[in-house]
């Protein structure tokens, strides 16, 4: 039984330049206690995907097709109050820039207690300050922050980036979501801190049985934390499969290029292999396969018609090279 089931999703933004289709007929699933890495460059629609699952899309965006079934409930057609109920306790999203993620004028303790309070409201539990405080302290310990009492009394600007991300993960744990959506949570952190936070998330996933949808542009980070990887390009799924499968034997040319472009620091004169071309214009995307202008294996049919997804055994790829 999957925690998240996205089927044929279409999300569009109205901008002054025209309609921007950020997500184009996307389908994938996230199972229980599974982590899926969503990999793509800026503008590929990965952040939009995260926001659409929790109904936090900006006002000029709309669901133009398909469905998102989160824990058995259809998200796209929910009313605002229903959406409010599922947010946080069913799916919780954490964001990239830790400096802006917490309310600067309130203490950490206030913000975490508020999370507990809201959860109690949603799940019909009674809210008891002392019990909640104990829970908060426990979760702060769980995210490996020493001296929870000290951190609780601080204001966000007194914490380091890594600490803030941990606090937010603690907040997520307090809300006990079935699905944690993490939008580039480590991109703004130092590499060492990044590794710590990733390990933390991995451990927590095992301990709490939480599913994770990890959005990132860095495929090696995705490999680190994911069971399965989905590669997105220009708002579409181009490849999906187990982490090992996608990394070791990528099928889609874009996925291949992504992996090939990771600098191999081992040999000094190892060539850098960037992907040629530039990201597509999302308002007027290329005809046919959206990757075709940059694809080294481009064929005639690629220019004319959009390839459909083909796949078996959980491996999906959208490319004419495979059918």
């Amino acid at each position: 039984m999957s925690v998240l089931k996205v089927k044929d999703l279409v999300v569009e933004y109205s901008t002054v330049y025209g309609v921007l289709r950020a997500i184009n007929h996307l389908s994938f699933e996230v199972g229980e206690a599974e982590s899926v890495g969503v990999v793509g460059e800026s503008g590929s629609g990965k952040s939009t995907l995260g926001l659409s699952v929790v109904r936090l899309l900006p006002p000029n965006a709309r669901y133009a097709g398909g469905s998102i079934i989160l824990d058995g409930q259809e998200v796209t057609r929910m009313s605002n109050s229903e959406a409010r109920r599922i947010r946080g306790t069913t799916a919780f999203m954490i964001f990239q820039d830790p400096l802006n993620s917490l309310n600067p004028v309130k203490k950490v303790s206030t913000q975490l207690l508020e999370a507990v309070e809201m959860r109690c409201k949603k799940l019909g539990e009674t809210y008891d300050v002392e019990k909640a405080t104990r829970e908060v302290v426990e979760k702060i310990r769980a995210v490996r922050i020493p001296d929870p009492e000290l951190i609780l009394e601080r204001y966000p600007h007194q914490l380091s980036g890594g600490q803030i991300q941990r606090v937010i993960i603690a907040m997520a744990l307090l809300m006990r979501p079935k699905l944690l959506i993490a939008d580039e949570p480590t991109s703004a952190l130092d590499v060492t801190i990044q590794a710590q936070v990733l390990k933390l998330m991995n451990d927590l996933k095992k301990e709490y049985g939480m599913s994770i949808m990890f959005i990132t542009h860095d495929i090696s980070v995705a490999y680190n934390i994911s069971d399965r990887i989905m590669v997105m390009y220009a708002g579409e799924l181009v490849e999906l499969g187990s982490a090992d499968g996608v990394i070791r034997s990528p099928m889609h040319p874009y996925a291949k290029a992504l992996i090939a472009s990771i600098p191999r620091g081992v040999m000094r004169d190892a060539p850098l292999e960037p992907i040629r071309g530039s990201p597509p214009n999302m308002i007027h995307p290329p005809s046919g396969c959206r990757f075709h202008p940059r694809c080294p294996f481009v064929m005639d049919v690629c220019r004319r018609e959009e390839p459909r997804e083909v796949g078996q055994d959980g491996r999906v790829v959208r490319c004419y090279l495979y059918g």
Binding site: V54, G88, F95, L102, N103, P104, V105, M118
Partner: protein, 367 residues
Amino acid sequence: MQISTLIYLVRRVINAVVTLLLLIFLIFVLVHTIAPTPVALARIYCGSPHCPPAELQVIIQQYGLSLPLPVQFAHYVVNIFHGNFGTDTLYKVPELQVIGELLPITLELVITGLIFAVIIGLFTGSLAAANRNNPVDYTVKAVYLVTWSAPVFLVGFILQLFLAYELKLLPPSGLANPTLGNPSPVTGYPYLSVVPQPLQGWLSGLVRAITSPPLIAAAVDGDWRFFVSAVHHLVLPALAIAITSFGVVTRLTRASMIDALDRDYVKLSFMKGLSKNRVVYGTAFRNAVIPIITLIALLFGFSTAGAVVIEDIFQYHGMGYFTVQAIYNLDYIAILAITIIVGISVIAANLVADLLYGWADPRVRLE
């Protein structure tokens, strides 16, 4: 209170005092540049442009105008700190006394106007931010553009014309209905003896000052008829001041709210499940309002300037009205005294705003 907060407070106070001293120095320099010789200075202190030379000599002796400049400056500062601003040429009483009676009235007006301006500004700014780029936003922008550009006397006249004379909703002038007697001033404070002697003078002066403006005096005295009348007379002038100044508040609130609403912590609040109202008017607003505090100090200065004109139009006998008279009578001493006192008030307002800001934004006070 943490050490860093204390340091913040002390720094702000020192800053205010230094700025005040500099302000006095500036005025001193300007006055002495305009009137470089003792005779010219004496003409200013004389109070009328046509002073006989004999009297000028007396004044030079009396005020020590031929002493070296640093000495004069020292005397000047000492005088000011003792509250000695000279003797008013018209009323023949110490300036401080005249201003002391009139300043609270004007402060009441200005503060009321400020409160109105902030309320209107916050409301319209939030409205514009919540409705970005649709007709509501454009209307708000148009409104504040026009009101900001309107000279304060125009707003005063229009309000007076329509609301007072045409619609007869509110009285057109005066502090309160003249047929009602003034409320009795506050005298004799039961707890005053508790305070040590030298402070008593200051304290009683302060209390008298605070309780002298019409509204407060009436409230303290229990004279509700007067209170109501004073309120009626306060509305239009305060509104006039508010209308010309709310524009900046709107502008800043709108920009601030838009910025705050975009932040990740707002999204996080939604994640927790807070309702839209609570997030927008709680979290986002609370953060957006902080820059407005710095604006209040600016507005205070602006409103005080506007009060001069408004008190003239509405015959509202406060310090502004006194200023207009002083200009007409070329009462230089009064004008200088007013300038310094307004300077002190604005610096004090700045200090209050700084302290408020420190309270509101923990990032500033805890470094």
